[in-house]
């Protein structure tokens, strides 16, 4: 589950700034789009699981690459968290690849973009036993921290133990919950009072081996092991919250200097051995992150590429929407653009506690004007028409369009009217519509209002301050009928999409089931599918369940598959894309000599 960082910063966008944000729901922000041309055709990766051979270093050479130079990153925000334990959002996920290594990681082929999961610190993606309840990882030889001390399985275990401390509130919580259950903090409070996680939960029989004993089967444990927080932390260097400013590197770079919100400079970590690393090429000698560069100035700088901007990229932020027209139509930028899927699906949530008749929900679905909304959203380069609740970046994704939206992308008003009649609606039916008060969502709201009014709805639009948008629509007693949210998978499996957004048990303020769907069939299916140990079969089952929800519950109307669009300096080569994170992949980048 991931929400874009825009949850925090969406209003900043409204000032003519940001597109960035955290993983889980794509934010409430965004500038106004001018349409623009269609972007490059995005590709869908298959996200297979690699073998032990795939997990061996060094990473395959990138054609034409050379070592040396400084690569620059221009970033609209700063990094709230450099502590891998607290990292979850897209910009943090991308930057941590430079200095942090997890048990597993994503290996991206620089030529084809094919993405597979391989062992990073571990020799492979893990060996399961006990019906996928137990997972064993063996660390590679030659792994060291930046100070030269060896990385052991006990350092990995300690890194996980500190995730239980009270101050660790930001990072993923999968492993913690899989070990102890949802109330994991009550069972174990972290290592700072001298207690360790017992061996029947996490065992380290020797310095190379770490064994996880989960309460339930978890076929997708190898993916969870790729999250930044499943990484080693040296106990002697851990000063709790303050570790955030000086995480100890295991990757190819270490922090040379850091001015929060202004500048972050990485230099080579001489204790990183490329032979142990199948993922990172680490061509530049250093990385210089310039933080807090407001839009549209940031996009202008990348386009103009004056001075060092020639070697600059924006790892996680998309181009300012106001520049889309120029960047997508002017041929001079074509060779410098990246336009790929992000893991987010934009949906209109229908509050099922307020609109209880599925026929009315389907009427909204049929009336929804996808093409017009796409234009208001920023055009094809920023988002592709989407008709599934899962993103194409999820393994096992297939096209599915039960309401024929792609055949009638401008909306089927007549069908909507027919359904309302069947539902016994006479006259106009009131529909309260909340939207984040930013240029992008203002435009979208006007477009949607127009179409729904034609179908027979009396739309009451309500602008919500972007900083409180998710708070307002996430309340169980929210007074709104429809509102937009966005969601993306944490890894290429729908196990991080379907349960958090569709499980109706334990509904509460602030959870991520924004439609408040509570369908017993869905709830029981979630439990059944979670127990499936064959990951491929599980992926297919998730897809089938999401299709059921779309067709029968229609609690969400998917309309856009978000896409990353940005340009980079012509002085950089090997610019590949990480579809799992929805960011540029820094591992293959090199500075043209």
């Amino acid at each position: 589950m991931r929400i874009r960082k825009a949850r925090h910063a969406s209003a900043f966008l409204a000032l003519g700034a940001l597109t960035l944000s955290a993983a889980c729901s794509s934010g409430g922000g965004g500038g106004t789009g001018t349409g623009g041309g269609e972007g490059k055709q995005a590709t869908v990766q298959n996200f297979g699981i690699g073998t032990a051979a795939d997990s061996k270093g060094p990473a395959p050479e990138v054609p034409g690459a050379a070592k040396g130079g400084t690569a620059y990153d221009l970033d609209q925000a700063g990094f709230d968290y450099l502590d891998p334990g607290q990292q979850y959002v897209s910009d943090q996920l991308s930057v941590q690849l430079l200095y942090n290594r997890s048990l597993t990681g994503y290996k991206i082929d620089a030529k084809t973009g094919k993405t597979i999961l391989v062992g990073d610190l571990a020799t492979d993606t893990g060996k399961s036993s006990d019906g996928a309840k137990t997972w064993t990882y063996t660390l590679k030889d030659g792994l060291k921290f930046e100070d030269g001390s060896p990385v052991t399985s006990k350092d990995v275990k300690y890194g996980i133990e500190r995730l239980f401390a009270d101050y660790q509130t930001q990072g993923p919580q999968y492993i913690q919950k899989w070990l102890y259950g949802a109330d994991y903090r009550k069972a174990y409070t972290g290592p700072y009072e001298g207690k360790e996680i017992p061996a029947d939960k996490i065992d380290t029989p020797d310095d190379k081996t770490i064994v996880f004993h989960f309460q339930e089967a978890h076929a997708d444990a190898p993916y969870a092991a790729a999250m930044p927080n499943i990484s080693p932390v040296p106990k002697a260097k851990d000063d709790k919250q303050k570790y955030n400013n000086h995480p100890v590197a295991t990757g190819p770079y270490k922090i040379a200097s850091y001015k929060p919100g202004k500048e972050l400079v990485f230099e080579r970590n001489t204790n990183w051995d490329p032979k142990t690393d199948p993922i990172r090429n680490a061509y530049p000698d250093s990385w210089n992150f310039q933080l807090g560069i407001a839009e549209p100035g940031l996009t202008n700088r990348l386009a103009a590429e004056d001075g060092n901007d020639k070697y600059a990229v924006n790892l996680s932020g998309s181009s300012d929407p106001s520049k889309m027209q120029t960047l997508t139509t002017d041929a001079q930028y074509k060779s410098r653009t990246v336009n790929q899927y992000q893991p987010y699906v934009e949906v209109i949530n229908i509050n099922t506690k307020r609109i209880t008749d599925p026929k009315i929900r389907q009427a909204i679905m049929y009336a929804f004007p996808m093409t017009q909304v796409q234009q208001a959203f920023g055009g094809g380069a920023q988002g592709e028409l989407g008709t599934t609740l899962l993103s194409p970046t999820v393994a096992g994704w297939k096209k599915y369009d039960p309401f024929g939206k792609l055949d009638k992308p401008t909306g089927d008003i007549e069908k909507a009217k027919e359904l309302l009649k069947e539902a016994g609606v006479t006259g106009k039916i009131k529909l309260s519509y909340a939207y984040a008060n930013t240029p992008r969502w203002q435009n979208v709201s006007l477009t949607l209002e127009k179409a729904l009014e034609k179908a027979g709805f009396d739309v009451q639009r309500k602008a919500i301050d972007p900083t409180s948008y998710y708070t307002v629509v996430g309340k169980l007693d929210t007074p709104y009928d429809i509102y937009r949210t966005g969601w993306g998978a944490d890894w290429p499996s729908a196990s991080t999409v379907v349960p958090p957004t569709m499980d109706g048990r334990n509904l509460a303020d602030g959870t991520n089931n924004y439609s408040f769907l509570n369908d017993e069939h869905v709830n029981s299916e979630i439990d059944r599918i979670l127990a499936v140990t064959d990951i491929k079969k599980q992926n297919d089952e998730w897809r089938t369940l999401s299709e059921y929800v779309l067709k029968n519950d229609t609690s969400q109307i998917p309309f856009i598959f978000d896409k990353y669009f940005n340009i980079h300096g012509s002085g950089l080569g090997g610019v590949t894309y990480n579809e799992v994170y929805g960011t540029i992949n820094p591992n293959t980048i090199f500075v043209k000599q």
């Binding site: 929400i3 509130t169 919250q241 919100g261 807090g292 100035g297 103009a304 900083t467 998710y470 602030g510």
Partner: protein, 325 residues
Amino acid sequence: MLRFLVRRVLGALVILLLISAITYFLFFFLPSDPALLSCGKNCSPQNVALIRKNLGLDLPIWTQYWHFMVGIFAGRDMPIGHCPAPCFGYSFADQQLVWDTIADRYPTTLSLAIGGATVFLCVGVGLGLVSAWQQGRAFDRIASGVSLVGNSVQIYFLGPIAIGLFASSWHVLDRGHDPDWSHDPWGSVQGLILPCMVLSVIFWSNYSRQTRSLMVEQMSEDHIRAARAKGMSSRYVFLRYALRGAAASIITIFGIDLSAVLGGAIITEVTFGLHGLGLLSVQAVLRSDLPLEMAVMLIGATIIVVCNIVVDAAYALIDPRIRLS
């Protein structure tokens, strides 16, 4: 003068206390919940409650305010660690010590404000003086036209054009960067030239028009005619008597404009990507970062209040008719 200063300083302290209280309590009337904003992807009720506790938001508002105000003068111990005085706490958003962030950012804003004010005072007042001297002639008419145009443009419009022309196309000026006075003073000057020029434009045009108008008005006063009748040269009378008469008004306007300069600095910083207090304040508000909001608000208010006291005191020095008591 001393009684005046004591009275004004005491009044300023009351004003700052009121500002701090209003800002602090207004924050809690907003619908935005910083704990929810900070919970990212883990918004379970338990996690939100934990974050609220970590941020100290689980305490009564009055207690929170009291702790905050005490911390400014005495420092305080917080969950992250000790926060020495002047303690504004740790940022809700990135957990950095707020005072460290302020200390890191204020040189940029101060440099920009001083540089911009220097430029607009020199250019604006200078142009106004020459225009008044050349009243009715070509220079006066051209200067009035240019001032009118300058008064109409905005920083966010002029800034990108200036960057495009001077930095990207002609490569004659730096596109603007944060100053680093201790390590690279000349580079700091270069990095501030364009931002200061742009910031000053909206002000100098106004000062030019005001100065011209005040000087023309002064030149028609009886004491000026009397001085001329005594045989003093036009230039001497213009600079010695008329300018002195106009100066008090110009200083008054400058005092009022101080807050506008800081406001202009915010937009200039965003336009040029400078990391100053202006950009910081925008980020603090948009992220519901209460400690940072409070620090920026109080420091900004303190600067404006102090500058106004200084301006008031300056009246007495310039105009002997004014007596401060």
